[in-house]
């Protein structure tokens, strides 16, 4: 049974965004990290890069394959989680604690396109 955190917004490509003010913490869900297996590399954008809802902004690599990261919201990257550069496996330890990028959200109404925790739970069939 995957861990799902209440109050976050979820995408169909298994990213989450935790909103604090106008900043969104973006990462992959516990379900996604479990499906991927051992994460060995996270390809992250740079601070000040623009990201768009539903568009690729990086990748998570497991031993076996690379999976694109799709941004759940549009905005500007204000921070990347540098701890993942040395220890990408942190995502396997706790995917919700170990967010990947922080974004200044440009259009809060886009959150309406995402799923609630309850809807995401149903989406992954749990």
């Amino acid at each position: 049974m995957s861990k799902i955190v209440e109050g976050l917004y979820y995408s169909e490509s298994h990213e989450y965004v935790k909103v604090e003010g106008n900043v969104g913490f973006i990462g992959i869900t516990d379900y996604a990290q479990h499906e991927l297996g051992n994460v060995v590399y996270v390809d992250m954008p740079e601070v000040d890069d623009e990201v768009s809802q539903g568009e690729e902004f990086g990748a998570v690599e497991s031993v076996k394959a690379a999976s694109d990261l799709m941004s759940p919201v549009s905005g500007t990257v204000v921070e990347v989680n540098e701890a993942l550069e040395d220890e990408p496996g942190l995502i396997n330890k706790d995917a919700f604690e170990n967010w990947i990028i922080k974004v200044e959200i440009s259009d809060a109404s886009e959150l309406d396109n995402l799923m609630t925790a309850e809807a995401y739970k149903a989406f992954i069939g749990e």
Binding site: G37, N38, V40, Y41, D43, A59, E61, V63, K64, A65, A66, E85
Partner: protein, 363 residues
């Protein structure tokens, strides 16, 4: 498309909670506990793989040796009984039909082990070539199940858990043994770079041996770590490093192509490639960054595309980003600085030897 085939251990993989995925026309276990843990079990202790998807073909008849020598790149002339040879079957242009093992069972009795994905193609190819020879081609893939027990503790595991004494076998030899009222084949071979054994037996016997090994705590290992293990020690996988377009000369496997023996299919093409140098060459790449070069990614020298990645991983026993790539021969000189395009970015990569990790065979 037809449903995937299942090996005789399919239900056991599902019960163990394996992640199942199609491979070579079969639904195969990719991992149980995790690729890294399974990989390390094989490097440091022992692991067991279900490799029942592999195909088996037995060639017998007065011209069996002559025939196999004609379709196979290695030289089995006057081979000692119990010896195993690795090599390829080639098309006339030198492209690879498959890479395989040939077991010398008896005079004019040879047992061929072929890749799962190539079974139909290979059997058709062998039958077609056999028309002018006095041989019998017996396809036995449905009869045999196969286990690979791999790792430094595998000899002891066979003895203690399966009561199979294979201590007398040296690397690349085999013997037939009695087990549970049937004759099985045990060989000191594998695809991991570690000491290990492969066992060919009936579905019932394979199930029994699998249960004994799992009950004894031997780590079940999936095809995920089979690929990382073989990659680190520089072994090719058909479909990646050998294809209908990639000859063994290009794959730098010419040691298995005996150009001094009598004629075989693909000999002339290989001799020409060897003498003139093949246009393409398989090399190892070491990336300076942590990014991972995956199959199909472009390899560049300056602005020019000089090849593509055939396999790439973040190594597990060697903590580096490594790859095999097929590149223009001139670009593939050891020490050359090339680049790999990974998604939108370009990463520097040095041409290095393909053996990233040292093999530990019992020779």
């Amino acid at each position: 498309m037809a449903d995937n085939k299942r090996t005789c251990l399919y239900d056991k993989h599902v019960q163990l909670g394996a992640l199942m995925s199609p491979f070579g026309g079969f639904d195969m276990p990719i991992q149980y506990k995790g690729i890294v843990e399974e990989h390390n079990a094989v490097r440091n202790q022992v692991g067991v793989f279900d490799v029942s998807h592999m195909g088996e073909v037995e060639i017998t008849g007065p011209q069996a040796e002559k025939f196999v020598n004609y379709i196979f790149t290695n030289d089995i002339t006057d081979a000692p009984l119990g010896k195993i040879y690795y090599g390829m079957m080639l098309y006339p242009d030198g492209g690879t039909v498959d890479d395989l093992l040939v077991y010398k069972v008896a005079e004019n009795d040879l047992f061929l082990v072929i890749n799962a994905a190539n079974i139909d193609k290979d059997v058709a190819w062998i039958n077609e070539q056999a028309q002018n020879f006095d041989v019998k081609v017996d396809h036995q893939s449905d009869i045999y199940g196969q286990l690979a027990v791999q790792g430094p503790d595998s000899e002891k595991t066979l003895l203690d858990t399966l009561k199979i004494d294979a201590t007398d076998l040296v690397f690349y030899t085999f013997k037939k043994m009695e087990y549970d009222g049937e004759t099985i084949i045990v060989s000191r071979t594998g695809y991991t770079g570690e000491d290990g054994f492969e066992i060919y037996a009936s579905h019932a016997a394979i199930n029994k041996m699998w249960d004994l090994l799992i009950e004894a705590g031997v780590q079940p290992c999936g095809l995920g770590c089979r690929d990382t293990l073989r990659f680190e020690v520089g072994l090719p996988l058909y479909g990646d490093e050998l294809t209908a377009e990639i000859s063994p000369i290009m794959a730098t496997l010419s040691i298995f192509v005996k150009l001094d023996k009598e004629d075989f299919i693909g000999k002339e093409a290989c001799a020409k490639q060897k003498a003139e140098g093949s246009a393409k060459k398989l090399v190892g790449l070491e990336l300076k960054d942590k990014a991972i070069a995956r199959h199909g990614y472009e390899v560049l020298q300056g602005d020019k595309v000089v090849g593509y990645v055939t396999t790439g991983y973040r190594g597990i026993s060697v903590e580096k980003s490594l790859a095999f790539a097929l590149v223009d021969r001139e670009a593939g000189t050891l020490g050359n600085e090339l680049m790999v395009k990974i998604r939108k970015k370009i990463f520097p990569a040095e041409v290095v030897k393909k053996r990233f990790y040292k093999k530990s065979y019992k020779k």
